[in-house]
């Protein structure tokens, strides 16, 4: 009991110093959590990828399309359950800053592969009935205040011209981390329009999304697909959906690495601040530690006091920082609009925050505790006068 009282009492002896140190810890742990969540959000697409989905693209480049007739050939490959086209549309909604991903898809085949998108049956029926209908995600709808029945004009960039759409369905995610910032419309509408506007660009697919029967055979089936189009004018490159998504993230990997480094630099800075606080604290209490040693308390007792105080500060500061991470992340995610598909604090991030706090607490105490336990009693007692 006395130990606990000594730890808490000592921690509160300089209220302003304690407040500033815990505030620093709070900010550091909060910043660390937010930066880690940014990194997680970056990798969210890859994390959500299903192991039984493959992406088939042109081996030359993603921007080079594939002939639509490949679809039937791919479907015939043993182990393939379903194939769907997906064309990246890149239209502008009102202003270029309103970026969100848009795909022209084979609705039934495509949506059948993505059970994580929850669509009401009646809305899906309306979407399938209307060639100009679109399905949008809940977050996208909320960001732009869109409802079922609203018109949604897009200005084409890859496919020039003005494209008129009508919101026919709004999908929800099966989990909070499901991406609900996407827009889907019917590939057939795109293709029919291209036949008139740009006939040479018709009958082409951006990529094929393939669902396989057995995720364990995904690599083997991918090879079989690529083999099928070997030495053709449009060779394919098939990879898992996860590898495909990571390929995108890799293009900005240096930025992600920079964010990770900054997050740990923040922790290092607070470690230095905390270590300085504990060193100052221990120096001021040399006479008290010497007195305790004179009374017969061993080095272990001093370790308990110093480590306990350091950990108490770390736990209070970090606890508040972790608690604040959730509302701040929610607010931050909302401010970012559709930039991040999902901005959810993961349990791994919380664990990393806890571990960082404990590491800061322990490391900050080591040098003062060693000095206090090794110092000569007579020198410590002299410090009082």
């Amino acid at each position: 009991m006395q130990v606990l009282k000594l730890i808490i009492g000592n921690a509160l002896r300089h209220p302003l110093r304690t407040l500033l140190t815990t505030l620093g810890l709070l900010v550091a742990i909060l910043s660390f959590g937010l930066l880690q969540t940014v990194v997680d959000a970056w990798y969210a697409g890859a994390a959500r990828a299903a192991p039984n989905r493959l992406i088939v693209r042109n081996a030359v480049s993603l921007v080079v399309p594939l002939p639509i007739h490949y679809r039937e050939k791919i479907r015939a490959v043993p182990g393939v359950r379903a194939v769907a086209t997906s064309n990246w549309f890149a239209g502008v909604f009102k202003e270029p800053k309103n970026f969100f991903p848009q795909f022209a898809i084979d609705p039934l085949a495509y949506l059948g592969m993505y059970p994580e998108y929850l669509i009401k049956d009646d809305e899906l029926r309306e979407f399938l009935r209307d060639r100009q209908g679109v399905i949008i995600g809940r977050k996208l709808a909320q960001t732009h205040g869109l409802q079922v029945g609203d018109t949604m004009p897009l200005r084409g960039t890859i496919y020039p011209g003005n494209w008129e759409f009508v919101v026919r369905a709004i999908y929800d995610g099966v989990t909070p981390s499901t991406d609900t910032t996407l827009l889907f419309f019917q590939w057939q509408y795109l293709n029919d329009s291209l036949r008139i506007r740009a006939p040479l660009r018709a009958n082409q697919a951006g990529v094929f999304v393939v669902q396989v029967e057995d995720a364990g055979r995904a690599a083997e089936i991918g090879l079989a697909i690529d083999q099928l189009f070997k030495n053709s004018p449009a060779e394919t490159l098939t990879e898992t959906e996860q590898a495909f998504q990571i390929g995108f993230v890799k293009q900005t990997e240096s930025l992600v690495i920079a964010i990770r480094i900054v997050s740990f630099v923040v922790i290092f800075i607070i470690l230095a601040v905390m270590a300085n606080t504990m060193a100052m604290t221990a120096r001021e209490r040399r006479a008290e530690y010497a007195t305790l040693k004179a009374l017969g308390f061993g080095p272990g007792f001093l370790w308990q006091l110093i480590l306990g105080e350091s950990l108490a500060l770390a736990i209070v500061g970090a606890g508040a920082g972790i608690a604040l991470t959730f509302p701040v992340a929610q607010w931050f995610g909302a401010q970012m609009g559709t930039l991040f598909k999902s901005f959810v604090v993961s349990p791994e991030t919380v664990w990393m925050q806890v571990i960082c706090a404990l590491v800061v607490g322990v490391l900050s105490a080591i040098i003062p505790a060693v000095q206090a336990s090794r110092g000569r009693i007579v020198d410590g007692l002299r410090a009082v006068s």
Partner: protein
């Protein structure tokens, strides 16, 4: 009882320090005994070695040479942890500046040495109340050091020093930070502990009036006993 083991037996004790590359002899070949139940005042000018001698007797410093037996135990041969255990059981400290833990109450300060014993909470509480009663602070148990006068703080320190019933009490200028009235009070208390409880007390002091309260006075000069 003529051949009883003295409370403190010092034989050929020497201690020196290095200061600026030079050896400074603080105690030189000192030998004397302090009998159990004695109240000894160590006097001498600054630098005479009296505080160093007290530190050696209390087991918080080590001599260069010589033998130091306290209550029959040669403390020079003890390891650091054995010495810490020994201090907990055999030495009560009274410091000039009281050296109380400011975040603990008078009760908790006095209880501290008992945390190193096997006494349970109830037994510890009884001991502490008895000790605080003995020093006249039974009504100040929940007060923090900052809420007590200098004299009262020193009384708490004395209660802490006697709580584990040590073999010797060592006091380094126990009245050095007190006014005359409070100092008299503390000296009277120490006298009482010696007279009524038979406590062996070794006190370093500059104050001749304080020294007069002791049963015997030993003068040191340049690291040697002069009488």
């Amino acid at each position: 009882m003529a051949n009883a083991e003295p409370a403190v037996a010092i034989r050929h004790l020497s201690k020196s320090y290095r200061r600026g590359g030079q050896k400074v002899v603080v105690l030189e070949d000192m030998s004397f005994d302090i009998q159990a139940g004695d109240f000894v005042a160590l006097m001498g000018p600054s630098g005479s070695g009296k505080s160093t001698l007290l530190n050696l007797i209390a087991g918080i410093d080590r001599p260069d040479q010589g033998e130091l037996r306290i209550g029959g135990i040669d403390i020079n041969v003890l390891s650091e942890s054995e010495l810490a255990d020994w201090r907990a059981r055999h030495v009560g400290f009274i410091f000039q500046f009281y050296n109380l833990m400011p975040v603990l109450t008078a009760f908790e300060n006095v209880e501290l040495p008992l945390l190193l014993t096997e006494l349970n909470a109830r037994e510890r509480r009884e001991h502490v109340q008895l000790a605080l009663d003995m020093v006249g602070l039974a009504d100040r148990v929940t007060h923090y050091p900052s809420e007590l006068s200098g004299g009262q703080q020193q009384r708490v320190a004395i209660a802490r020093a006697i709580i584990s019933d040590p073999t010797i009490l060592v006091a380094d200028e126990p009245t050095g930070d007190l006014d005359r009235v409070a100092a008299e009070d503390i000296l009277a208390l120490m006298e009482r502990l010696n007279r009524e409880l038979g406590k062996t007390i070794i006190m370093v002091t500059h104050d001749p009036q304080a020294a007069q309260r002791a049963r015997s006075i030993k003068h040191l000069e340049k690291g040697m006993l002069v009488d």
